[in-house]
C-alpha cells in the first residue's frame, strides 16, 4: 500500500512521517517509537491510547494518522517538566499509588492533562465523569481520583521565580 506524507507537531517539534492511509494515529506513533501510547482494545473502549490533539483528549486508535496533518499532538513524552523531574500529574500518580501495572497510566495522564486545563479545581464527580473513558484493571480507581486532585492542587500553586522557565508545566 502506498505511503503518504504526514507533517504535524509532536510534543512541540515538527515531524514528517510517511504513513499508510488506513494507519491509525496509535499505529503511526508506536511505529515511530512513541511507545508510551499503549495499544489496548483498539475500539475506543479502554483509553490506554489517549493523547492530546490541539488541547483535546482523543483516543488515538480511533483517529486516522492523516487526520492530524498540521495539528499538534501531545503524549506523555512531551508533558512539560523541569529537568530531571516528572510533570506534576505524573508525580501525583506516583505519590498516590495510582500506578500498579502502569499500562493505563499514560492514557490516564493525558486525559487528566486536558481535563485540568479546563477544570483546575475539579470535584470528585467531575473527575469520575472526565475519566469515565479510561479503564484501569489494577487500582480500583480511588487512588487515581486522588492523584488527579493532588495534581490539580500542585498545578494551582503559584510559580516561584527561578523554578519556572522551561519547567513551567501549565
Amino acid at each position: 500500500m502506498p505511503k503518504h506524507a504526514l507533517s504535524f507537531v509532536l510534543n512541540g517539534e515538527t515531524v514528517d512521517w510517511e504513513v499508510e492511509t488506513n494507519a491509525t494515529l496509535l499505529q503511526a506513533l508506536r511505529e515511530n517509537g512513541v511507545t508510551s501510547v499503549k495499544r489496548g482494545c483498539e475500539e475506543g473502549e479502554c483509553g490506554a491510547c489517549t493523547v492530546v490533539i490541539d488541547e483535546l483528549a482523543q483516543k488515538s486508535c480511533l483517529v486516522l494518522a492523516l487526520e492530524v496533518e498540521g495539528k499538534s499532538v501531545l503524549t506523555v513524552e512531551g508533558l512539560p517538566a523541569a529537568p530531571g523531574k516528572l510533570h506534576p500529574i505524573q508525580q501525583a500518580f506516583v505519590d498516590e499509588g495510582a500506578v500498579q501495572c502502569g499500562f493505563c497510566t499514560p492514557g490516564f495522564s493525558m486525559t487528566t492533562y486536558a481535563f485540568l486545563k479546563t477544570h483546575p479545581n475539579p470535584t470528585d464527580e467531575e473527575i469520575r465523569h472526565a475519566l469515565s473513558g479510561n479503564l484501569c484493571r489494577c487500582t480500583g480507581y480511588l487512588s487515581i481520583i486522588k492523584a488527579v486532585k493532588t495534581a490539580a492542587e500542585a498545578l494551582s500553586k503559584p510559580i516561584v521565580a527561578g523554578e519556572g522557565g522551561e519547567g513551567d508545566v501549565r
Binding site: N22, T24, E43, L56, L66
Partner: protein
C-alpha cells in the same frame, strides 16, 4: 484494519466530485468513531473513505433567531454539550449527548454522525425526533431538508443516495416560553455502553399551552415517536400516576423490542415502563423549577 484509500476534501465541491466519480466504493466519515470500528470488524469494507472532517465549513453551530439552529456535520457531541443556546433550547438532547460513549470520545464523535450511523440505540436520535430535527441533504446541485423519520429507514439504513451528503442538522425553534426535557436510558454501565432501552420526553410551553413529545430508542428497528402517548399527555391538564401508566401502556404498544446480547425482550418491556415514568416525572419537575429558562 483492511486497506482503503483516504480522500480528505477541502470543501464540499471536492467531496461531491469524488462521490460522483467513485460512488459505489466510497463511504463518508466525519468523526469516524463508529466507522473505524466497523471497518476493523469487517462490517464494512470500503475501497475509499471520504473524510468530511477536513472541511472547515462543516464545523459550525449557527443560531438563526426565531427560526432554528444549524449544526454542521463535524460538530462534536462535546461542542453541543458546551453550547449555551443548545443547552437552553434542547435540554433532552444535551442529556442524551452526555450519555453517549464517554467524555473523551465525545471530543471526536459527532451529532450528525450519530444520526447517520442510524443504529436503533443511537442516543441522540430520540430527542432529535422530539425536537423534529431535519437532515440537510445536499448533492453537487441540490439541497433538501429531510425529517429524521424519512432519513433513517432501518437499522444502519438511510434513504439517501450514495452521491448525497448530510451536511447539517436543522433543529427548528418552536415558539415557547419554556423548554424542558429529559432523556433516560437503561444500560449495564454508565459510560461506553449502548442503551438497552431509552426514552426522551420533551415539553414546550407557550402562553399556558403545553406541547409534550415522547420518543424511544433501542426498542424497535429505528427510534420512534409515540404519538398516542403524546396525545394522552397533551389532552390532560393534571398529569398523575394513572396518566403516567396510560402513557407507559401506549409506549409498550408502540415498540417491538428484541432479545440480544444487551438484554431480553421481557426486560426491555419492564424497564421501559420505569423509563417512561422517570422521564415524564423529571420533565414535570423541571417545568416547575426552571420556568422561564427558554
Amino acid at each position: 484494519m483492511k486497506a482503503f484509500d483516504l480522500f480528505r476534501p477541502k470543501d464540499l465541491f471536492q467531496a461531491f466530485s469524488r462521490l460522483e466519480l467513485n460512488q459505489h466504493e466510497t463511504v463518508l466519515k466525519s468523526g469516524g468513531t463508529d466507522l473505524l470500528i466497523w471497518i476493523k470488524k469487517g462490517l464494512v469494507s470500503p475501497k475509499e473513505v471520504v473524510d468530511l472532517s477536513s472541511i472547515d465549513s462543516l464545523n459550525e453551530i449557527e443560531v438563526k433567531e426565531g427560526e432554528g439552529i444549524l449544526i454542521g456535520t463535524n460538530v462534536s457531541l462535546n461542542r453541543i454539550i458546551d453550547h449555551p443556546e443548545m443547552k437552553r433550547r434542547f435540554p433532552a438532547l444535551i442529556e442524551a449527548c452526555e450519555t453517549h460513549s464517554d467524555a473523551v470520545l465525545r471530543n471526536k464523535a459527532t451529532l450528525v454522525g450519530n444520526v447517520c450511523s442510524a443504529v436503533p440505540s443511537g442516543d441522540t436520535i430520540p430527542p432529535l425526533l422530539c425536537y423534529e430535527a431535519e437532515a440537510v441533504v445536499q448533492t453537487s446541485c441540490s439541497k433538501r431538508h429531510l425529517p429524521l423519520p424519512r432519513l433513517i429507514i432501518g437499522p444502519r439504513k438511510k434513504s439517501i443516495s450514495k452521491t448525497e451528503i448530510v451536511t447539517h442538522l436543522w433543529i427548528p425553534l418552536p415558539k415557547a416560553d419554556l423548554s424542558v426535557g429529559a432523556y433516560r436510558r437503561a444500560s449495564r454501565r454508565r459510560a461506553l455502553d449502548l442503551a438497552q432501552a431509552a426514552v426522551a420526553c420533551t415539553l414546550f410551553q407557550h402562553r399556558g399551552e403545553r406541547d409534550f413529545r415522547l420518543a424511544v430508542g433501542a426498542l424497535s428497528p429505528i427510534p420512534v415517536r409515540v404519538s398516542e402517548g403524546e396525545r394522552i399527555l397533551n389532552e390532560t391538564s393534571n398529569i398523575d400516576e394513572k396518566i403516567a401508566d396510560r402513557v407507559a401502556d401506549a409506549v409498550l404498544k408502540a415498540i417491538q423490542p428484541i432479545t440480544d446480547v444487551r438484554g431480553s425482550r421481557e426486560f426491555r418491556f419492564a424497564v421501559t415502563v420505569e423509563l417512561v415514568r422517570e422521564s415524564l416525572s423529571l420533565c414535570l419537575t423541571r417545568a416547575k423549577t426552571e420556568e422561564g429558562c427558554y
